[in-house]
């Protein structure tokens, strides 16, 4: 398949450039941690409240972080006009988007995995028994965030006020994914944890639909 190889090569490029500086992962981690601490100060939740609202707060923090950290993924390419170079390469433009989506997915998921134990400790939640389903929900939710977020990072990179525009475009569109992820996660953080099959399926459907839409219409974002 002609899409796979270029995507893999570009993904390697994205990962390598991030691993050299590690600035995206570090800043996102600190940002989410700060927001979670602030939420904790603001609401001062008891452990019952933590179980009820913790998941929502975590996803809200991740969504805000995503809307800020996904922004450089295209503007970074504008500084030296490297996007033009990528476009000139003999590859399907969708591969550029796919690589960036995958790279952002990896960065976000990695940050979340580092964050989860800290989050559980801060909010006094038990996650040991539900690690596998929790990982599944986190992965599906993060895929939704990184897919739409990366595409909208391209959208906003052409506009003025882009730093403000990206969250503005992204947050309303991700409302359904936010609800689904928060609901599925809070089901897992409950006293008697259970994985909600319907919310997980909903998230998977969201991912599939928006990956398909990106595959169909994403290339228009990259043309000169």
């Amino acid at each position: 398949m002609s899409l796979l190889r270029p995507t893999a090569i570009l993904l390697e490029k994205e990962l390598r450039s991030e691993l050299r500086s590690r600035e995206l992962i570090t800043t996102t981690f600190v940002f989410v941690l700060m927001v979670l601490v602030l939420f904790s100060f603001t609401f001062d939740p008891t452990s019952t409240e933590s179980r009820r609202f913790g998941a929502g707060l975590l996803w809200l923090a991740l969504l805000f972080a995503g809307s800020l950290m996904l922004h450089p993924s295209f503007t970074r390419e504008q500084t030296n006009d490297t996007l033009a170079a990528l476009r000139m390469a003999p590859l399907d433009p969708v591969a550029i988007l796919a690589a960036k989506i995958l790279a952002n997915f990896c960065f976000l998921l990695l940050t979340e995995m580092i964050l989860l134990p800290v989050f559980a400790a801060l909010y006094n939640l038990r996650i040991i028994g539900v690690l596998a389903p929790l990982f599944l929900v986190m992965a599906l939710g993060t895929l939704a965030l990184s897919t739409v977020g990366t595409v909208f990072s391209a959208v906003s990179s052409y506009a003025r006020m882009r730093e403000l525009l990206l969250p503005l475009l992204l947050l309303p569109l991700l409302t359904p994914a936010l609800i689904a992820s928060a609901e599925a996660t809070s089901g897992l953080l409950d006293v008697s944890p259970s994985l909600s099959i319907s919310w997980t399926a909903f998230l998977a459907a969201f991912d599939i639909i928006f990956l398909t839409v990106t595959w169909l219409f994403g290339e228009y974002l990259l043309e000169e």
Partner: protein, 245 residues
Amino acid sequence: MAQAHASSTLSPASAAKPASSQGLETIGVALLLAIAGYCALFVAPTEATMGQIQRIFYFHMPFGITAFVSFLISFYASIAYLRTRAPKWDLLAVSSAEVGVPFITVMLVTGSIWAHPVWGIWWTWDARLTSTFVLWVLYVCYLLLRTLIDDPERRAVISAVFNIFAAFDVPFVYFSIWFFRTQHPQPVIGGGGSLDPRMFDVLVVCWVATLAMLGLLLRQRYRLEALRHEVAQLRMEAGSPGEQL
């Protein structure tokens, strides 16, 4: 329905109609709206439990459906633009989105006015209300996005892609909140049940009137957008981009 509107606004003959026929059309639509208002206030029977306040429904629902028709036209036009690259589709996409936003605003406001005496609250996070609200936000963002991109061709492409994403999001918003709320009990929303035939007739009259209004506004807005486009192009040909419209 959406197709019929789209094609009538796009034919070049209609764009070049003399001003007098425009005036006639405006008077016609105003007359239709007046008739619809009369029907809603005097012809339709008073609703048994809600009383007079229910009459706002005859404008609430038609405005809502008409807004959806308008957004559907916008979505279709965005896809057509990406496929054909004919500027007329972009003009239609922005016109119908911009006309749709006030229509849906009317729907939200009249709904709130209706909800207050009937439910005792201005707003509830019910599936229909919330998804309409998110739809409103998405299209306001669409219009905002357009104002923030300077290059006309880029603006057309980028906003078309956003429009398509937004349109695909709407069913997800609806189902997520519907699903969310059915798990948590809350006040039951009106609707369903049987409708008095006279009520239904009045509803149809009102819907026809709002659709006619949509057609009129859409054509005016399209014409304005076409003129702006022409001015921008003439400016470009003259070599001074000037201020972007």
